[in-house]
């Protein structure tokens, strides 16, 4: 199914009220997602895309799938209901760093723990983009935001470690500067049976970059390029060399009982009782 892709086929033709700033990373992520769906030949009818609230959460409105734009932080919980009620369908969640690791952290870790078959794409732009640029659980130390005017003194979540610790069975991280690799990871996540998490490092030049001497998308992308290291290279680097770096790659790919399968096996065993 590779080859030519008509993006318009995946975009809603009757709703195109794009809210994103020019150059926002969200568009590139959407493109990678479309490519993954296209290359796997998944029918739009067989996939639900559920999103939270934030700039990233707007994705569900633009795309021609069974879509649900939910509440801030909770798309995974809605998606859990959808998946359990329709276990043979693809369920994908899009959420921001704030959405998935602050307000929605609880739902995120529990989906990982249950190993429920869904793909959670966390768009990590290191900030609360939509609300004007307050700091998030992934804003780097020292960064200025609307609520850390003197620089961020709070600590960070490592989303990959969080997902692994919570039990996700496919975990990968890539940035918007490597769309081909990103597409590959999203494809693998979609094919994976169980809870798969793909963290995408994205650029919010408007609400993070601007306040940290990176006004243009390009400047933030340069920064992303500088502080990300592929796993293969990181393996050869010392701890000091890795300080402040974010490692990209595939971190976990294991098999574990999947929640809906376990549940419906139970139902099968009780038939006729």
């Amino acid at each position: 199914m590779a080859g030519y892709i008509n993006y318009e086929y995946y975009l809603r033709q009757d709703y195109r009220n794009l809210q994103w700033c020019p150059g926002c990373g969200d568009g590139a992520i959407l493109q990678a997602f479309f490519r993954a769906v296209h290359e796997l030949g998944i029918s739009k009818d067989d996939m639900a895309v559920v999103s939270g609230i934030g700039c990233s959460g707007r994705i569900s409105g633009y795309i021609d799938f069974n879509t649900m734009h939910t509440t801030h932080g909770r798309p995974v919980a809605f998606a859990t209901g959808i998946k359990l009620a329709a276990p043979d369908k693809y369920v994908v969640v899009f959420g921001g760093d704030g959405d998935q690791t602050a307000i929605g952290g609880n739902h995120f870790i529990h989906a990982c723990r249950r190993n429920i078959d869904m793909t959670i794409i966390v768009i990590n732009n290191n900030v609360y983009g939509m609300t004007g640029g307050q700091y998030s659980p992934t804003t780097p130390s020292g960064f200025k935001t609307q609520t850390t005017p003197y620089g961020n003194y709070d600590s960070q979540f490592d989303i990959v470690k969080l997902a692994i610790g919570a039990g996700a069975t496919y975990v990968a991280r890539e940035s918007v500067i490597k769309p081909v690799v990103l597409t590959k990871y999203i494809k693998k996540a979609l094919q994976h049976k169980g809870c798969s998490v793909v963290e995408v490092i994205s650029n919010c030049h408007i609400n993070l970059g601007r306040r940290n001497k990176m006004k243009s998308p390009h400047a933030v992308l340069e920064w992303i390029k500088d502080h990300t290291v592929p796993l293969s290279r990181a393996n050869k680097m010392s701890e000091e060399e890795l300080a402040g770096k974010v490692i990209t790659g595939e971190f976990v790919e294991v098999e574990k009982p999947e929640f809906t399968e376990s549940y419906y096996k139970l139902c099968e065993s009780l038939k006729g009782e």
Partner: protein, 380 residues
């Protein structure tokens, strides 16, 4: 299914009724005094191929129930005060996305953790206004074991019919009391089945269609047509909108789909009212106590009747107004297990025409018939 006579608690009856009404999805989080509903669901739903899940909290439970509803199943969640507070965010989401879903609140004392093992009726206003913003509300207040069953069936029917969340408000007494009940054969029940819209060839499904009456047709995911849902104000297609006229029209329709059908939703029991001089207004387990109190007062020669709403939201304005304007009655005693909530609704309808007295109780014990008798004798 033939012999279904037995001793059941109210909570068990709600769970059995839900399954009989076609509920095939339950998401919840344990909380006293509602947990038995969830426990029965965990046992029975897998047997009928329905889905059960214990979520990480009540916010998630409500979300999962809504998510499931949009795959085409009837879904339910149950809790008590603290959990209902958490569910409130998504009750609003269910209202604005017009999602049929049943929410049970087995009320206990509050605020906060309150008195987990004691009955209360202090969440009745929460059931009306618990989530933010203007929204419709339907809430049923069964008053005995049989009604715990039948009102649950009715709750599912109303949810389907009006595409909106429906509350069942019980309390610790109703939830835990054991009663001998003969359950009907489910095939004898009047059940409103989910009619999932199937658009004609080339037709685009509008989840918030304004041209098909007050309640737009309900669609479902994975049916070969795709659509969008959002908690933002939206147009007929479900897409976010800032069009002022559209927002106003959709918002008003959402309210009116309940307001315009109050007569179909309202249900009251009028007990000993025909020849009565006074009225006790009470609902839920307090309503049951009021009926006994009426009998006791009649033995003492006082002609007292009971107005017992079985639907508390929408409020039975017209029916109460009729009672008041009949000129037959000299006063109303409103009894409720809280510090005064529904009494303000009765006063609103009354507009000062009849003397209204209260019996309010929040010490963790139920309002008893003798409480009502002595309060009645004190005030009238």
């Amino acid at each position: 299914m033939s012999n279904r006579k037995g001793v059941y608690t109210g909570n068990e009856l709600i769970a059995i009724a839900a399954i009989d009404a076609g509920c095939r999805f339950y998401a919840g989080y344990p909380i006293t005094p509602s947990s038995e509903i969830m426990e029965v669901m965990s046992k029975e739903l897998p047997k009928v191929g329905g889905a059960f899940i214990q979520m990480e909290d009540e916010i998630a439970s409500m979300a999962a129930a809504i998510g499931a509803a949009w795959t085409g199943v009837k879904s339910m969640t149950a809790s008590s005060g603290p959990g209902i507070s958490l569910k409130s965010e998504h009750i609003g989401y269910a209202c604005i996305t017009e999602t049929p879903v049943v929410i049970v609140n087995i009320m206990r004392g509050g605020p906060s953790t309150g008195f987990p093992t004691a009955p209360s009726q202090s969440d009745v206003m929460q059931a009306r206004w618990g989530t933010h913003g203007d929204h419709p509300a339907i809430a049923l207040v069964p008053g005995n074991a049989k009604e715990m069953y039948y009102e649950t069936v009715r709750a599912f029917n109303l949810a389907e019919k009006f595409r909106t969340p429906v509350f069942i408000l019980g309390d610790e007494i109703l939830g835990h009391m054991n009663t001998m009940v003969e359950l009907p054969d489910p095939s004898d029940l009047d059940i409103v089945e989910r009619k999932i819209y199937s658009p004609k060839q080339g037709e685009k499904y509008k989840p918030f269609d304004m041209s098909k009456g007050d309640v737009p047709p309900m669609g479902a995911f994975f049916r070969g047509y795709r659509f969008h849902l959002t908690g933002l104000n939206h147009n007929e297609y479900g897409y976010p909108t800032i069009d002022r006229d559209m927002i106003k029209m959709q918002q008003e329709r959402m309210m009116k789909k309940v307001e315009n059908h109050v007569e179909e939703i309202v249900k009251n029991e009028l007990f000993n009212m025909d020849d009565a001089d006074y009225v006790i207004f009470a609902y839920g387990s307090t309503g049951a106590a009021a009926k006994l109190a009426s009998k006791m007062l009649r033995e003492k020669g006082k002609k007292v009747g009971v107005f017992r709403p079985i639907t508390i939201w929408p409020f039975p304005d017209r029916q109460i107004d009729e009672v008041i304007t009949s000129g037959k009655y000299k006063g109303i005693l409103v009894a409720e297990a809280n510090l005064g909530q529904i009494i303000y609704e009765v006063e609103r309808v009354n507009r000062g025409r009849l003397p209204i007295k209260d019996l309010l109780k929040v010490d963790g014990t139920p309002v008893s018939p003798t409480d009502i008798v002595s309060r009645f004798e004190e005030v009238f």
